[in-house]
């Protein structure tokens, strides 16, 4: 038994040249922003930045050209993502469309859906949100109760979604809806594209503990959805939802969330810090390097059309634990004033408060460890 075998990360381009290109783009277009914004990279929605990124060809990079994509290699996209995240660029506006929405349509969407939506997504003009969680369905996703009933020309949808990131900016929600009974809970689920402007859709903000507006609750009252906006087969929703999870569990966003703080910490302690700070920085760097190797290896497996579901769960949980521990380890190093007017103090205070969410979003720690245990053959 070998728990992790490496697959070389070999993009078909000169990686260093691509990085230089992205860094030059960032130098020209990244908004100044403070350390709080840089610490919140993929949750900061910035329409102008997203459009500039799209213009440079960094949105929908791997999608076919006929749908407005760039037909670049998935590992090129990986390089661009890690550059954007390491710089703390505000990529939240298009993040979900680029990571989940577009790939879902390419895999399961109809030709009409692809032609209609993908070019606008790739242009950085059309955004999506994901309607999975409900008040009664968090980790237990198969318990969704939002119902879709057949009408003569489509579906009538009733229910409520919650913790819906970016719903207030999104044009479409990709919603998981119960459309049939089925003997198993996982059966009878179907995915739909719901037009956020359709009558009966109400979005209410949920303000998070640091007063940020990232997620929302979305009420669906007799929302009429044409059958042409059903994604994939009726009843295949569970399979479609779980198939994409490897894509979003092993990316660089799963271990770089506190990177901005590590940088500010190194800046604050200077070139010759005391031995304890030196050791902490060394340890964090070693862990970061290791996670990066794991994430890149998993990306290479995904690019080769393998399904590294177990590796992806490992990368996410280990990465989340790292980015979550980083702020509290830094905090313990000294008597830092969390109210100080410095980039370091802002990043530290912000990440101490939001880092508990890192092991909640995208699958909780406990769920991931359960998936790993099942992968180990523990019954």
């Amino acid at each position: 038994m070998q728990t992790f075998s490496i697959r070389p990360f070999e993009p078909p381009v000169d990686a260093a040249a691509l990085r230089a290109e992205v860094r030059a783009f960032l130098a020209a277009h990244q908004p100044k922003g403070d350390a709080t914004s840089r610490s919140n990279s993929w949750a900061v929605a910035d329409k102008a930045f997203t459009r500039a990124l799209a213009k440079a060809g960094y949105v929908g990079m791997v999608w076919p050209k006929r749908y407005g994509g760039g037909e670049r290699h998935p590992l090129e996209r990986y390089i661009v993502l890690e550059e954007l995240l390491a710089a703390g660029a505000p990529v939240g506006m298009h993040w979900i469309a680029d990571r989940q929405g577009g790939p879902l349509l390419l895999r399961y969407g109809s030709e009409a859906q692809r032609q209609d939506l993908l070019p606008r997504m790739a242009a950085g003009e059309l955004y999506t949100c994901i309607g999975m969680s409900e008040p009664g369905s968090g980790s237990d996703l198969a318990s969704v109760r939002t119902r879709g009933e057949r009408t003569p020309d489509g579906w009538r949808i009733n229910g409520q979604k919650v913790w819906t990131t970016n719903a207030h900016n999104a044009h479409y929600m990709i919603a998981l809806v119960r459309t049939g009974a089925g003997s198993q809970r996982q059966e009878g689920l179907t995915q739909f594209l719901i037009d956020m402007k359709a009558p009966g859709v109400t979005v209410r903000p949920i303000i998070d503990l640091v007063c940020g507006h990232d997620f929302n609750e979305v009420f669906l009252e007799d929302v009429l959805v044409p059958d042409s906006l059903r994604v994939g087969e009726e009843g295949a929703g569970w399979k479609q939802v779980t198939a994409e999870l490897s894509l979003e569990r092993s990316g660089p966003e799963r271990y770089l969330s506190s990177y901005a703080l590590l940088i500010e910490f190194i800046r604050v302690v200077g070139t010759k810090p005391d031995p304890a700070a030196t050791a902490l920085i060394g340890q964090l760097t070693a862990e970061l390097w290791t996670l990066r190797q794991m994430s890149r290896s998993t990306a290479a497996k995904l690019a080769a059309d393998e399904d590294p579901a177990l590796e992806a769960a490992i990368v996410k949980d280990l990465g989340n634990s790292f980015e979550q521990a980083l702020p509290r380890l830094v905090q313990a190093m000294n008597d830092f004033d969390l109210s100080a007017d410095t980039d370091f103090a802002r990043a530290l205070a912000f990440l101490l408060q939001v880092s508990p969410s890192f092991s909640l979003r995208g699958g909780t720690r406990e769920i991931l460890r359960g998936i790993i245990a099942r992968g180990l053959g523990l019954r």
Binding site: M1, Q2, T3, F4, S5, I6, P8, F9, E10, P11, V13, D14, A15, A16, R19, L75, E82, A86, I263, E264, I266, R267, G270, T271, K272, P273, P275, A277, T278, A279, L280, I281, G282, Q283, T285, A286, E287, L288, W289, T290, L291, R292, Q293, M294, R296, S297, E311, I314, D317, L318, E366, L368, R369, G370, I372, A373, L376, G377, L378, R379
Partner: protein, 338 residues
């Protein structure tokens, strides 16, 4: 995996699986030497096997996964470091040591002591760092040898020299780094083997009417163990690839540090899952966990490597970290053009 590496691994697997902890050292070692493993990293034109560091990682990981009670890794890197530095080794056993103090005089005679020499009691050559030099001494030339053993019961002897003739040269890779690479690979293998034992036990041991592996508390701790083992295996392979590309001081340091962190978690979790049976001499678990405990303290602790990496990172400055990490990893095109 290349065909030659698969063949090599098959040989190593067969060899290590057949070793016994109680067999006399000389007979076990003869098998390893006959298989040609000690010359794994020596070039073919010097009568070596001509393997790369990736091969070495695979073989040493395999040795670790069988808790092989032999200085295979020590011999492999001793031969390579000696060859790189132009030191002549004879055909016998060669080992390495990192705890040396003393000096070599103008006539090339070494006075000092070397502690914790793996199998230092055997007729062997010891390769060690002394300042920026790499030195090779013969155990037979030691004035005295104090027999000690590691927590795992392996020979870790103290050798005292008073003016013994040694070979001395400028080094390329330090013995400390090479040893860290070896122990990192062994830890990767031993952790995977220990994890496999733990999973097997969790599936077989019945309490409260069902296998303990069905309890979430046990599943969650084994999942964490898996993540740690995965990290070490990935880091070790990545360090091997980096070493094959050239200077890999950073990667080896990071991989050993990560391996040390994981070893601590793995030992604790494996024993917790096994319960009392894992605490017996009879059960095989201790062959792995006692070695993991030992290896964590050899060729650099967490703190040692953390400070070394940290000094580099801080010295280069905050904004240099990302360019540093990416430049060292971007080998796609170069890697393939070989």
């Amino acid at each position: 995996m290349s065909e030659s590496r698969s063949l090599l691994l098959e040989t190593a697997e067969r060899l290590f699986a057949g070793l016994s902890d109680t067999a006399p050292f000389t007979s076990s070692w003869r098998e390893v030497a006959t298989a040609g493993l000690p010359s794994l990293l020596v070039a073919e034109n010097r009568d070596g096997f001509g393997g790369d560091w990736g091969d070495a990682f695979a073989v040493l990981r395999c040795a670790g996964s069988h808790a092989a009670p032999l200085p295979v890794g020590e011999a492999i890197v001793a031969a390579r470091l000696a060859a790189d530095a132009g030191l002549e080794l004879d055909a016998g056993l060669a080992t390495i040591a990192s705890r040396a103090a003393g000096e070599v005089d103008a006539k090339g005679r070494f006075a000092g002591h070397i502690a914790s020499v793996p199998w230092g009691r055997e007729p062997a050559q010891v390769v060690f760092d002394l300042g920026e030099q790499i030195v090779c001494a013969k155990t037979a030339d030691a004035r005295s040898i104090e027999r000690r053993s590691s927590p795992a019961g392996e020979a870790r002897d103290t050798l005292i020299f008073e003016g013994a003739a040694v070979q001395c040269a400028e080094r390329r890779m330090s013995v400390l780094e090479a040893g860290a690479f070896v122990r990192g690979a062994q830890i990767a293998g031993a952790l995977d083997a220990t994890l496999a034992l733990s999973i097997q036990h969790a599936n077989q041991r019945i309490q409260f009417g069902k296998p303990i592996g069905t309890f979430q508390a046990v599943q969650q701790s084994l999942a964490v163990f898996t993540e740690e083992a995965a990290a070490v295996n990935c880091a070790g392979q990545a360090a091997a690839e980096a070493t094959d590309r050239g200077d890999a001081g950073f990667e080896i340091a990071a991989a050993k540090l990560r391996a040390n962190m994981a070893a601590a978690v793995g030992v604790a979790t494996a024993h917790q899952v096994h319960g009392a049976i894992g605490f017996t001499q009879e059960h095989t678990l201790h062959r792995f966990t006692r070695r993991l405990i030992t290896w964590r303290s050899e060729f650099g602790s967490e703190r040692f490597w953390a400070e070394q990496i940290g000094r580099g990172v801080c010295g280069r400055g905050a904004d240099a970290l990302w360019p540093f990490l990416t430049a060292r990893g971007d080998t796609g095109l170069r890697g393939r053009s070989k």
